[in-house]
Symmetry: D2
Subunit: 313 residues, 4 copies
């Protein structure tokens, strides 16, 4: 089972080239927290803008910079079945523990549930590492229906789902239909509290690149039944969570990471960096979170051993 919090790591670029040094440092730094591992080459990893040879280096560098026990998820979804099969193979070869496979994003009108089922089965049949499904219809076009997830969950090599639909009713419908050992992780930070209480086992959320300790804390509050603290923290992180996804995307996430003491770098073209105004907003949100929690967040994700402030109790 996949449990806990996983940041979907941005891919660092310096002058439009992959910066392995920053990548290594960021991974190493994030892994000093109680994060369960991380995801490279997800949507937040600018996977659509990264070339295959770069992708292989990202997996390798991340693996090398991580402790052995942590999980390394790698985005491996492509539009064609053959390219996806190839990407899973390469992700496994270079050290990923799981392949997160988004559905094809082209020809979406023809991505019927039958076509998606056949696609994922072919991919899982040959992947050297276990496959995670990925549902986010607003971004990918195609939707993985609950019945499709349930059908694919029967495949030995398909072990979980990242669901970023934002729809708790849908998450619950999935949970009601899959076996207990099938991992459902949510991708929407603002619903982590509700989703964990509904039976998911963890989250892959952009904001955990910025404030990893707060996210782990939220996870642990729920898991240990401290619901009032969990809900207070859930509400507190929601504005920043929205800012680094819906509102400002990868550019916002990278800027927030830089504010938090990492080197977020800027996105690859055609994506543009955020404006100074947005950066100021992000700084304000981080300061607000510092006040709320009593933690120093603008220095590598917060004091890991700090107490949660009264505001949260």
């Amino acid at each position: 089972m996949l449990r806990g919090v996983f940041p979907p790591l941005p891919t660092p670029f310096t002058e439009d080239a992959l910066d392995e040094g920053i990548l290594r440092d960021t991974v190493a730094s994030l892994m000093q927290t109680r994060l369960s591992g991380l995801l490279v080459l997800g949507t937040n990893g600018e996977s659509f803008l990264v070339e295959p040879a770069e992708a292989d280096r990202v997996v390798r560098v991340a693996r090398d910079a991580m402790p052995a026990g942590r999980l390394l998820l790698a985005g491996a979804g492509c539009d064609s079945t053959r390219a996806t099969i190839d990407a899973c193979q390469r992700a496994g070869d270079h050290g990923a523990t799981h392949a997160l496979v988004r559905p094809p994003t082209s020809y979406t009108r023809f991505m019927t549930q039958d076509v998606l089922m056949a696609h994922y089965e072919r991919v899982a049949d040959t992947s050297p590492i276990p496959v995670l499904l990925y549902n986010q219809p607003a971004v990918f076009g195609a939707e993985l229906a609950a019945a499709t997830v349930a059908g694919l969950a029967r495949h030995d090599n398909i072990v979980g789902l990242k669901d970023s639909s934002g729809n708790i009713a849908h998450v619950n419908e999935v949970l009601a239909r899959v076996p207990d050992d099938f991992s459902v992780l949510t991708g929407v930070a603002a619903m982590m509290y509700a989703a964990l209480l509904s039976g998911t086992t963890g989250s892959i959320i952009a904001i955990s690149n910025v404030v990893p300790n707060l996210c782990v804390e939220l996870y642990e509050f729920v898991m240990t039944g401290q619901l009032h603290k969990a809900l207070a923290l859930q509400r507190a992180i929601a504005p920043l969570a929205k800012a680094v996804t819906t509102q400002h995307g990868v550019a916002g996430l990278k800027a927030a990471m830089t504010l938090a003491g990492y080197d977020g770098t800027t996105p690859r073209l055609p994506l543009a960096p955020v404006s100074p105004e947005v950066e100021e907003d992000l700084r304000g949100m981080l300061k607000h979170l510092e006040l709320f929690t009593g933690w120093t967040l603008m220095n590598r994700g917060g004091r890991p051993d700090g107490p949660v402030a009264e505001g949260m109790s």
Copy 2:
């Protein structure tokens, strides 16, 4: 504060005319449960198909058939501000305790947050009864942003919100911004468990017309911290909840009520009744719930004093 479960009552028609007798019987029967009251003239009450004179009779008959202590919410939203003001006045005159005001559904491109704010303020200024906001962008077109809800919550005569967005993150954002005495009720049965744990105080859900006791039970399980039972029951009712809303709408709801021992009648034209196949599906879902709970559901909403079956524990 509004607390608990409220069914959005369908409007009964016999040969295309409002049937006051069935209305009276249904209300009286539903009020023998621990439902907190009910809503007439909501979307499930075919409000778009009911004429003003009929609407007045619906409110009056429902009020007469209800115990004094229960709340009577009445849908009063119209497209023009003046018609909405008039509808609130009439709802109050005929005995409603609260007016549920959907946003205008025409000229939706021009329903900016400013326009909506001004509309609701004018309505609330003159309404003789407290106003509840209503957010359901997928149906109404216009969306009430969290900031707009927070702004309107400052009005003395605006006391709550029905949110049917299905988006738990949005519900949480609203809850974080409104005062503690502002009631947030959800309109999506499949997220009642998650929403109550997030701070909402109740629900207005179609399925509570069909299995009122199960819905009250779910509410009480959460309120008393019996989360495992609550989650099991939440998942159990989800398919029927979806069937009587998203899948088959008012026609499905009315058919399910008839199966459950009420007289659901059929919808008004142009709406068509469900097919025999759908009716059979609905019967199957009710039977499944009977097995799960050990309750006799197909007889006026279940044995109110029955124990919850083992499946739920």
Copy 3:
């Protein structure tokens, strides 16, 4: 057959009350052009905000102010079948020559082609005046498929269609399937040229309330094969046409009418009037058209006998 240009008349309000005097004057003034008639109580007539008793007065006043030979179309679509039947009856009683029936805009997920077919057939069976269908999915939610239009075109009392889909391929598909004596009118001014060349016989377009003579001229250019002039004029009116529909809606239309010498009045609440900036933009567009055509447009729709300027030849 319905041929030529019909303005969808806004409903004039003075202090939120129907202003019959302005209505009478505007109709009389517009009818001094070669417009073929007009439409009252369409979407641009704020039909969703007008009450039934007011609607009757609008039809009566318009009829009285029009020459006998011109057609008076009246919007009569409602959400319930019975209300629509009633509205058609009243429109006929008060002097309309045709009822323009939009589809129901509520419960749109259940407005299948079968349901729409049955609805329109019931309405047409009893309407004392011929029925025109109305297709505008972006506004009404439901879509009238080409096959549905073709099926309904067989009904003796359904004589035409207003299509505001903006989709010339769809218009052509409809034209290919309906009999020659079924009138197809478009509701998108910017496609009048293309639609007339494709076989439609006229248009119901907001901008013809503002510059009726230019719209009639465009119609006549196409009908007499003066395609270069027609295309130049088509392109010239497109920005204003967009401004008084898509961009600024009824409020923009009313403001532009006032600029053109009519008394447009302001919209009914919750609709807001346009800002001074928008008004200035509209004035600029009218001036631009005056330069282009050599006509004085900001005085009751232009000099009807003026020559078309060189820019158009």
Copy 4:
């Protein structure tokens, strides 16, 4: 200027590998008509499923199989600016005369008009061959506004636009804003007649892979002012045009090509071939067109020198 009809060629696969022999034969056969050239690696060329090395071979083989005077357009749009620049370079190197550059299809919420403008300018600055813009918001997510097209049209190396919006008003708005030597081609076969009359100079349409001569004939009818024949032919081809795009996509196009005497092959996974029922429908449409035109269409695109049948006059 680009004038006339260009088929967007499907990429032929045999057992999931590019089949150069079939590609060569198909190109050679299509070029025996009066088609103005062709497009490889467009959406219909399964560009999203073709790998870079295969793409290069497609361009080279097509170029070799074409007469020197015909234009070879190659799809070169990618999600990152750098990959797009690289694809344009390679397309030019391998013999394409123009690069058709779709907008990025990922991170579409951040594809503002400014971002798109900067992306296209960077691409055009370095492309060794002239660039064509591509607008199809329903498929690509991002939309190229008319003002953006007008702005980009000022770049020396951006010479035209393929517009598949299906919106004749938008096409006209673009035409009103671009210089006369900027080529606007439509991608929607069912609006070719209307678009050519509005000032476009040609079309890139899937159906011209199946019935190239009919499409050329339609183009020539409009260009020579034979509007009645053009309109009749436009309506006649519309159902097949819809079938090989909207309804059945690339799979439908490939099946129709096979029926018409080419070797369409089947699409690459995850795309599935059409069912036998769809194939039968396509055959029926082709037979219907044969009856209508008096041409033998199910043999390599029809008798090129055949007269147009009476039905078209």
